[in-house]
Symmetry: C2
Subunit: 431 residues, 2 copies
Amino acid sequence: MYLDIGNALASVATPGVSRASLDRLDDRVARAHERIVDGIDDREFGYASLALPERTDAAHVEETVAPLADSEAVLTVGIGGSALGAATVSAALGRGAADAHVLDNVDPQGASEVLDALPLEETAVHVVSRSGTTAETLANFLVVREAMTEAGVDWTERTVVTTGEDGPLRALAEEHDLPAFDVPEGVPGRFSVLSSVGLVPAAIQGHDVAGLLAGGRAGREALAPSLYDCPAYGYGAVCYALENRGATTNVLMPYAERLEYFAEWFAQLWAESLGKDGLGQTPVRALGATDQHSQLQLYRAGRHDKVVTLVRPRDRPGRAIPGTDIEGLSYLGGSDLGTLLDAEFEATEASLAAADLPNVRLELDALDAEGVGRLLYDMEVACILAGELMDVSTFTQPAVEWGKRAARGLLGGGDFAEAEAVAGKERLEIE
Amino acid sequence: MYLDIGNALASVATPGVSRASLDRLDDRVARAHERIVDGIDDREFGYASLALPERTDAAHVEETVAPLADSEAVLTVGIGGSALGAATVSAALGRGAADAHVLDNVDPQGASEVLDALPLEETAVHVVSRSGTTAETLANFLVVREAMTEAGVDWTERTVVTTGEDGPLRALAEEHDLPAFDVPEGVPGRFSVLSSVGLVPAAIQGHDVAGLLAGGRAGREALAPSLYDCPAYGYGAVCYALENRGATTNVLMPYAERLEYFAEWFAQLWAESLGKDGLGQTPVRALGATDQHSQLQLYRAGRHDKVVTLVRPRDRPGRAIPGTDIEGLSYLGGSDLGTLLDAEFEATEASLAAADLPNVRLELDALDAEGVGRLLYDMEVACILAGELMDVSTFTQPAVEWGKRAARGLLGGGDFAEAEAVAGKERLEIE
């Protein structure tokens, strides 16, 4: 992992952070590092997430899903942290031996389209819910189970679950003798990607699960008591410093289509962990080079309330651009799409700096299992460090409960005062 | 189109807009309305976009692509406004008679994956570039052309173009007698969806092109000199008022997976049109219900610098949730995924209001051609009104030129001072 924060310095950008301020901040990083390492070693709630690369047993994951290893497709049924990690890993590593799909919404049209497209008799289903009662996930699972039964497929032969010790999903797994993983203890959903939650589809696709975990371990070994010695801490610290100086939005802009889902995963990690007490950067998902033709005008000419995080692999497969004698295009011919993409990466980085907008460069060696494992681990570290520096409760998400109770009340799942607030909505309707 | 701005009022939300302020603002809306209508009637640059529903000839589009109407797939080669509209329409209306794909990046891995998956001999290609020299688009087209030739497919039989009067793409179309559309005069790319730019793939998919245009015409007919009488103006005006009061971020959160691309299209429209002079809301793309489990914590507990725009169709196809006797889940069984999704929509809306965060409800009758055409047209109107109220140059995008020149210089396409700035980058590297 390589980090370059030169374009976030006050000498380049507004807002920017001075080297003197970074030096002062580094004392707090050293103390936070001790707190984090102690938390990992003691398997404290939340911090325990950073022990997953050591705790997760790749061979156990692979053996458990071995009966499903010849599937043509794998469907994750979950929502939020129970789905985004798996989708991110599968997208980053490519198709492999099976297509990966996700049901992480309750859109009737979307669900029907996914189910109609799947070869159900060759599809492995991974249902993920800690409580076993998540409304969206269980509703989808009931729909999937029925679709399989109607197609003459024995769903008990095609389903694996990850859930807590108790609850309806655990009971179901025991009743039907389904392969089942425990959700890792002390790990909030959005930090669970390096457990079965994120790795089961990858294992079924034949991806290098051990490599993903090795990447995470490399991130663990890279932890050091200074932001100047550890890219994950460097990134978390500079985001914290820039937020305090006015960069209340963090645009994550990978230059690799396979990392488009990674931007979604990062957005959950950042928003749900740090969006507290009136603080927290708003994560914005972008994609290079595409969004240069959509968002760059705003980034350069709009408010200086953003930092843009540019991400790319240093090495990527090529695709030659054929030579051409078309006038005005000959400079493209004989080059490679990757060369063009990298030139646009560097041009965009420089164009943001020329507009005084802070930006940061994050690079991984390659989009392989170790690279992806390291990237995910380091972003978790960066998030946890930022949370320490901000003094927020990184590992909880209390503000989402209100809406869950309201929805449950509306659906007749109990009496909740929140459901009554829905009916009292203030209206100003324009048709 | 139905708009409800009750939850954006100062009596509910912080920031919020008072009814008295809206009344005062309405005088300016009336004047802006006159400006806009004059611009449409005179086909002035930019405003001419709002005349597209009358100007575009559905039968002409359909006849021109008729030789490709039996294609199994349609591939749009373009970037930014030359691709997003087409992708949005095709996603909103579903697969139809052909799969829709887009090459709107220059990722070598992504391009290879798309080309490997396409049945090239049954694929229609629509190449879109006003200048005919857009680097990304032309590089991709060279790659597609070569792939077709290597597969033994006559690319001249499978390609249609939309381009300007001159340039390499026009010359190529003339040389090979390709079906060709003119880019509509006076219409910036991001406002071009209701022309051939956005409609060619839909026509090949067999979607109701005339219906899309009829939806746009309904939007034109709904223009009225008061924000209280025209939902498009109501939306533009309330976004303007909220931005001035601190809502510098606009989260667009459709509750329909088919509108996920619409959020991308809106993000370009909003960012590139209004991101000027240090102004412009940052568009954030979200998706309900999924992002309740990702972003809602931040929206409710983070900074009050956002308005959340919730979008849904009033009518949608259903998907029954099978009954179940699993304890704790029986309230879900026998319901419908759509009922659950709508309950989550209303619960989220109320939960934002309970946290004093401004939010707006936008509804369309259904996700059909007329509904989609109306939605796209009304958002363009809202954007243009906001630009009038902000006194910015809605129809230009000067800030993106710097990076284009830098990239071209880096690729050896000429001498540009911007390319030299890339080499002078300030570095602070952490490994």
